[in-house]
């Protein structure tokens, strides 16, 4: 069965770019454009992995992370934070809330991001 990823990101361009590459790798990609919708979809589809931006409308990434890790159904889903926030405080907070990996978009090539995602999907 193909693996499913939920990509919570408010930028449609980025969603398309990363999404198309992941789909070529045989991964099913579902998306949500804001935090609240992200939580709702995560509970519905129970993906194998969540890719989460931190600056999001309605509910920010930290709130999403906190809620999903509290919820019995979703707490075991690995969450990779993919953001452009890079202060030590934000990284510590996200990891403390249960993110398995923290990737700063500007510091990574697309290939590196994809291989990190695949690593956590194994």
């Amino acid at each position: 069965m193909p693996k499913t990823i939920l990509f919570i990101e408010d930028e449609p361009t980025l969603q398309k770019t990363v999404g198309s590459i992941l789909q070529k790798e045989g991964i099913v990609v579902k998306s949500a454009l804001d935090g609240e919708l992200g939580i709702q979809k995560a509970k519905e589809i129970l993906p194998d992995l969540i890719l989460l931006d931190l600056i999001l409308p309605r509910k920010d990434g930290f709130e999403v992370l906190e809620e999903l890790k509290k919820e019995e159904k979703t707490k075991a889903i690995p969450i990779i934070v993919l953001t452009n926030l890079e202060s030590a405080k934000d990284i510590e907070r996200a990891i403390g809330l249960g993110a398995v990996s923290y990737l700063v978009k500007a510091n990574y090539e697309l290939d590196e991001v994809i291989s990190k995602i695949k690593e956590h999907l194994k």
Binding site: E11, T13, L14, T17, V18, S20, I21, N84, L85, S87, A88, K89, K105, A106, N107, E109, L110, D111
Partner: protein, 323 residues
């Protein structure tokens, strides 16, 4: 200082009186902070009044008049002092807003830059079929320019963080040699294209240092990049890693244009670019060495250089081997 207490909540008054908090907010040390200086000024004035009163009491027939005069003069002094402090406050606030603006603008620019970078990498991979070599070359040029923009935005973000006193660094055990080897690997194609040889000499059993790996990489990268960038024609950049008693020293020696003696004092200043390089190397923000210095000093390390015009420069950093 005239406060309109009716319009000001108790908490706000407390915040106003909390000197340490407001100094931290501006990212200033106590002795640079106008609020703290004003407090010191106040204490000095009060102390002067008391001393004057004491002396006048001893030596003058009617000391009350002398004390009154001194008090009036002191009051005037305090009013003037307060006006100066207010101006400093306004300046500090304006500076803070500027740093915040740079920080927000740079952060907003990062998303489109990342989008371009990632989309280009997809486009460039589909070459061979639909894209000819000329188009691929053009894409490489776009990528190169986008990377430059990314570096500039990153530099502005770090510089804004330094200005705001928000450059927080981790302290973790790290292998400086592995980091330098990785950097040399990354910069090898760029150096080769410019006919510059990169060499690494390292002490055996190089000690591990305690610093923030990501930030130290940025600092050493700026030194290496400068070394390569400011060589005219064929040349070389040597990196030496040396064990010292309580630190590890990393030297970056280049055979470049060097820095004129009269400009050497300004090398670590923000936006500094030396006159001799401006003539032929227009790229560069002048933030690299400022950032390198801020990172190294915030890592309990040292940074310095020696340089001779038309011969080359040696930039060095020393990082602590203990927590």
């Amino acid at each position: 200082m005239w406060y309109n207490l009716n319009n000001m909540s108790f908490k706000k008054v407390c915040d106003e009186l909390n000197v340490v908090k407001s100094c931290r907010q501006y990212g200033l040390t106590l002795w640079q902070c106008p609020n703290f200086l004003f407090l010191v000024l106040g204490f000095i004035v009060i102390f002067t009044i008391l001393i004057t009163y004491y002396i006048a009491n001893l030596y003058m027939p009617d000391p009350r008049i002398a004390a009154l005069i001194v008090m009036v003069v002191s009051a005037i002094l305090m009013i003037i002092g307060n006006m100066i402090v207010q101006s400093f406050n306004r300046l500090a606030k304006a500076n803070q807003s500027k740093s915040e603006f740079i920080s927000i603008a740079s952060h907003r620019l990062r998303s489109p830059i990342t989008n371009i970078k990632w989309m280009l990498s997809i486009l460039m991979k589909s070459n061979g079929k639909e894209i000819d070599s000329e188009q691929l070359e053009q894409m490489r040029a776009i990528k190169e320019n986008n990377d430059r923009m990314n570096t500039l935005v990153n530099d502005l973000l770090i510089a804004a963080r330094v200005d705001q006193g928000r450059l927080i660094l981790k302290s973790e055990e790290m292998d400086l040699k592995a980091l330098v080897e990785q950097l040399i690997k990354e910069y090898q194609p760029y150096a080769q294209a410019n006919h510059i040889a990169l060499h690494l000499q390292s002490d055996q059993d190089l000690l591990k240092v305690f610093a923030d790996r990501t930030q130290i990489k940025i600092a050493v990268q700026r030194l290496l990049e400068n070394g390569i960038k400011y060589i005219k024609g064929i040349g070389s950049v040597k990196i030496r890693l040396i064990n010292k008693k309580k630190s590890v020293r990393c030297e970056v020696e280049d055979t470049g244009v060097g820095i004129p003696k009269q400009e050497q004092k300004k090398v670590f200043q923000k936006f500094f670019r030396s006159q001799n390089i401006m003539r032929y190397q227009t790229q560069g923000s002048g933030l690299g060495l400022f950032i390198a210095k801020s990172i190294i000093q915030n890592s309990r390390g040292k940074i310095g250089f020696s340089s001779q015009e038309n011969k080359g420069s040696i930039f060095w950093v020393e990082l602590p081997v203990k927590l």
